[in-house]
């Protein structure tokens, strides 16, 4: 679910295509600070940003201006094409250049995605520790908050551990989070009861029908305002037309990583569990589940079950004949890139380990009975086991096998999923796959493809109907949907009203692919689509003031940030970093650059992860907000302190 936030880049213009070639040259010639450069103020700083997001360019300029206005900085803003920029910031030497990269990233419900990606030592030079930051104490704090038997058993302890992380990061200040992004959905008033989900991938799945929050979408073409309606007014039938900004490139779940493909698949496929808009987990195809066992081990415990596999200089495991084998885990003491070989836990070894009682956690899932796939198959434990096997060596394998150790069918309707280590996120991470029909479980990579005659088959409320590549996708209501057949009573956790529908009430979902944002907006105005997202913020205000449309804004887990070159003098002084952080006009950026469509980041933790990421968010914010306030005077004080303590030259007149 993590992804670069480059929503404004979907419409690629020719100008961008061409600029990609030209600016590649810049990478090699851009300035490097040599070691014997004397530090003096005003300090030369290069802020770096990609050109894909015009909003980001604007606030980078705003921050540059604030820095210059203190008199202590001479700021250059260097712009790069998005792909060039990615290539550049992931270079090994990048942290030593002393530049300040501006980017955005999307996190998840997991609080770890707001601290580890940017600050964990293991993420140096990859997503997204771009400044070479890393120290053991911090790594340990982050690790202790998610992994270990203590936090796996005690959610409150976990929340307190994360609070320690946020405090440490605010003190160390390796990066500044500027704003939390929101995703705006614009819909016609005819679409009733629509509740957006933080991640656009899952919006249809959640909004169309979510018993846990009594969220239900229906279509009422004769609807008059007010839009405030209760789900009990719902109407059955009709077609919902949903406009998306890029092609559905795949209908094959283990081979899809992009938002739009996952959104389309979410109508057809289901998983063992489901989530509400706050990230609470509910059993779904599993009628209930429980953690049976937690053991205090790390990955070294699998050593006896590992096989030694040669690796090439890039770290590719060379299994030899018989094709690639999934590396469930690699021995933590081995380096696939630097060493010639690595000890690897294969699925076979993992099964042996589990047989002998070596595992981190054991979760037991009891499946719903009488769940029919669109092809008539009935869901059994075999489906779960063969689904996970299909995820081996797929595009999704690293996301799956960073936590899953092994899956075992206990009986026809019971399946055990084992986690590699004790993990407080296991409940969310382990069942992260879409259950396949046995008919398709043996298919090779990318072979679920309606254009090649293999339409996707799942258990979901909608069935595949028609797909025209690059144009539209139509899904129709599944008449034998298991939840409607069995009734809401089969959801043991459900305690809502009796009359709530057991499935979505809309007959047909039409997903229209219109890549250009302005064209998509025109299609919405012309009544050709009912809902869309990803429109530019200036048009949102117009829709917002028009009675025929409703704009829903929801925090999407995206955050905008920049990172300080902590390994380069004088940026190794945390006071200087704190000073610049006080020069970030967060409120002004939200009001003026984002037209109010965003939230200033007073902490590093967005609303999305409040549930598991802090013991008390209000307390956290009141403690940390002061450190993130716009305060040029405090900034100047800090800079003066640094200059004085370190004896730097300064020609700044105050």
């Amino acid at each position: 679910m993590n992804q670069w936030d480059n929503r404004s880049s979907k419409a690629l213009t020719r100008r961008q295509l061409l600029s990609g070639v030209g600016s590649a040259v810049v990478v090699t010639t851009a300035g490097c600070l040599t070691e014997d450069d004397e530090v003096s103020f005003p300090l030369g700083v290069q802020l770096e940003v990609d050109t894909d997001n015009s909003d980001r360019l604007e606030w980078t300029a705003a921050i540059a201006q604030m820095m210059e206005s203190t008199g202590y900085f001479e700021v250059d803003v260097e712009e790069h094409d998005f792909d060039d920029f990615l290539e550049r910031v992931f270079e090994d030497d990048y942290p030593q250049y002393g530049h300040v990269p501006f980017l955005s990233l999307s996190g998840t419900f997991n609080p770890e995605s707001y601290c580890d990606s940017l600050h964990g030592t293991a993420n140096r030079g990859q997503c997204c520790n771009l400044n070479g930051l890393g120290y053991d104490e911090l790594d340990e704090l982050i690790d202790r908050a998610r992994f270990g038997t203590d936090v796996a058993d005690d959610p409150q302890l976990r929340e307190r551990r994360y609070d320690e992380v946020w405090h440490e990061l605010a003190e160390f200040r390796g990066s500044s989070i500027i704003t939390f992004l929101t995703e705006e959905y614009v819909r016609r008033a005819a679409v009733r009861g629509f509740s957006p989900y933080p991640f656009s991938e899952w919006t249809l799945k959640y909004a169309l029908h979510s018993p846990s929050e009594e969220a239900l979408t229906w279509v009422d073409r004769n609807a008059q305002r007010p839009a405030e309606t209760d789900w009990s007014d719902y109407q059955e039938g009709g077609t919902l037309r949903y406009g998306i900004g890029a092609n559905i490139s795949s209908f094959d779940p283990p081979y899809s990583t992009d938002t739009h493909s996952v959104a389309a698949q979410s109508l057809i496929f289901e998983g063992l569990t489901t989530m509400d808009a706050e990230g609470n987990i509910y059993p779904w195809l599993a009628k209930r589940y429980e953690a049976l066992d937690v053991q205090d081990i790390d990955r070294r415990a699998y050593e006896p079950y590992m096989t030694t596999v040669p690796t090439d200089e890039k770290g590719v495991l060379e299994f030899g004949e018989g094709g690639p084998v999934q590396a469930v885990a690699v021995h933590p003491d081995d380096d696939r890139i630097d060493d010639d070989e690595a000890r690897v836990l294969t699925p076979e070894g993992a099964a042996d380990a589990v047989d002998e009682g070596v595992y981190g956690m054991q979760y037991r899932y009891h499946l719903q009975e009488g769940v029919a796939f669109h092809n008539g198959e009935e869901l059994t434990a075999d489906h779960v086991v063969s689904t996970v096997e299909r995820y081996e060596n797929s595009d999704m394998s690293s996301q799956t096998f960073d936590s899953v150790l092994h899956v075992d069918a206990v009986d026809e309707y019971t399946v055990d999923i084992y986690a590699q280590v004790p993990d407080a996120e296991a409940e969310r991470e382990l069942p992260g796959f879409e259950i396949h029909a046995l008919e398709q479980a043996e298919l090779g990579a990318n072979e679920i493809d309606p254009l090649e005659g293999e339409a996707p088959i799942g258990t979901g409320p909608y069935e595949f109907e028609e797909f025209e590549d690059g144009q539209y996708f139509v899904a129709t209501k599944n008449d034998g949907y298991w939840l409607e057949e069995n009734g809401l009573d089969t959801l043991e956790w459900y305690d809502g009203p009796d009359g709530f529908p057991a499935g979505p009430v809309i007959d047909e979902i039409d997903i229209d692919i219109i890549s250009d944002d302005s064209t998509r907006s025109a299609a919405l105005q012309n009544g050709e689509i009912d809902v869309t997202f990803g429109l530019v913020s200036s048009t949102l205000n117009e829709y917002d003031s028009d009675d025929g449309y409703i704009v829903d804004s929801v925090q999407s887990g995206g955050y905008q940030f920049f990172q300080y070159p902590v390994t380069v003098e004088p940026w190794d002084d945390h006071r200087l970093r704190k000073a610049v952080n006080h020069l970030v006009p967060r409120e002004q950026i939200v009001d003026e650059v984002l037209d109010g469509w965003g939230e200033p980041a007073w902490t590093m933790l967005p609303e999305l992860a409040h549930g598991t990421g802090t013991a008390d968010y209000d307390a956290l914010e009141s403690e940390l907000r002061e450190k993130n306030e716009f305060d040029p005077d405090a900034a100047v004080e800090l800079i003066k302190e640094v200059i004085e303590d370190r004896g730097y030259d300064s020609s700044v007149q105050q």
Binding site: N2, Q3, W4, A11, L12, R14, L17, V21, A24, V27, D83, D84, L86, E87, R88, L105, S113, S117, A122, G125, Q126, C127, A246, S249, S250, Y255, T257, K314, G315, V316, L317, P324, A327, V330, I337, D395, S398, Q399, A445, N446, E447, D449, L451, E452, E468, D469, G470, Q471, D512, I513, I514, S515, D516, S518, T519, A522, A523, Q525, N526, E528
Partner: protein, 317 residues
């Protein structure tokens, strides 16, 4: 040299030209940072560099550029343009699925361009210096200058949102269905405008020149009706200057189609190319570029042939 030998020689020249185009495109695509895998893993903090290398090896994207090129060209010679990354569809399949849509768009663009340019060009030349001539020249200059994505959006605003004559999206019908052809009018106008303006301007000036020549005076002196003088003699002679434009204008229409298809959500090769570049679909980008190159070369050849037919004095040495 006879025309036939000339054509054969030009056809043979296509091979080295396409080879050059493929080398350039291939290396440009590789010079720009990133490949399908890097986009995929940049989206995910959980993927370690070694996992990334593993994926790259699985998709055959490891190895140096020249090695990838040799493999690719080896396949192309046997007619295999490769697969689209992330699917099991072949590139040729996608190419031929999208090609008719782009051809239809181009034909509409040309019909519009010629349908408007020839009468107005003739009118402006005959009425040289009048208000009508000035107006048509200003319009033509604007037409040649306006960026087509902007023109497209403007047409959508005027004829879709205000007038309500069309929908933004094409109807879900096969290409030859009347409603599809009706839908092609706005994108056709958008893609044809620049060509229309150029043709009109060239035609106007060359006709103005021809109208002053002695044979025109002679024809008039013979007592031929003015209509016949203009359309049968002057226009025919002026058209040869337009024909030389055809190849460049066609290349312009093909390039314009890339933007116009995106603006009008028209599912042709241009839209496919944009998506392919975005997703670093190397095979698809190179194939579409090659195809476009081939097309432009053939257009040039065709222009030369038509030129010879229109003016029998022209021979190729």
């Amino acid at each position: 040299m006879s025309l036939r030998r000339f054509i054969v020689r030009r056809l043979l020249l296509i091979v080295p030209i396409l080879f050059g185009v493929s080398v350039i495109t291939f290396s440009l695509v590789h010079l720009t940072p990133g490949d399908p895998i890097s986009r995929m893993v940049a989206q995910n903090p959980n993927v370690a560099p070694a996992d990334e290398a593993q994926l790259r090896a699985q998709y055959g994207l490891d190895g140096p550029v020249w090695e990838q090129y040799l493999t690719w060209i080896g396949n192309v010679v046997t007619g295999d343009l490769g697969d689209v990354y992330g699917t099991n569809r072949t590139v040729s399949e996608v190419l031929f699925l999208r090609l008719p849509e782009t051809v239809a768009l181009g034909v509409f663009g040309w019909l519009f361009a010629l349908g408007i340019a020839i009468p107005t060009g003739v009118y402006a030349a005959v009425r040289k210096g009048t208000v009508g001539d000035t107006v048509s020249r200003v319009v033509a200059l604007s037409g040649a200058s306006v960026p087509n994505f902007w023109l497209g959006l403007l047409l959508i605003l005027a004829f879709v949102l205000w007038a309500g004559w069309w929908n933004v999206q094409p109807p879900r019908e096969p290409l030859y269905h009347p409603s599809m052809l009706w839908h092609l009018i706005l994108p056709g106008i958008t893609v044809g405008t620049a060509a229309c303006a150029s043709i009109m301007r060239v035609l106007r000036s060359s006709m103005a020149e021809e109208l002053n020549k002695e044979y025109t005076t002679a024809a008039r002196a013979k007592g031929l009706p003015e209509r016949q003088v203009v359309y049968k003699h002057v226009l025919r002679n002026s058209l040869s200057s337009v024909v030389t434009l055809v190849a460049t204008l066609t290349a312009g229409i093909v390039a314009g189609a890339i933007v116009v298809e995106v603006v009008f959500a028209w599912p042709g090769l241009g839209q496919e190319l944009v998506e392919a570049i975005h997703g670093h679909e190397i095979n698809l980008v190179v194939a579409i570029t090659l195809f476009t190159g081939l097309f432009v070369v053939l257009c040039n050849l065709l222009a030369d042939i038509i030129y010879a037919v229109l003016d029998p004095r022209i021979r190729y040495e």
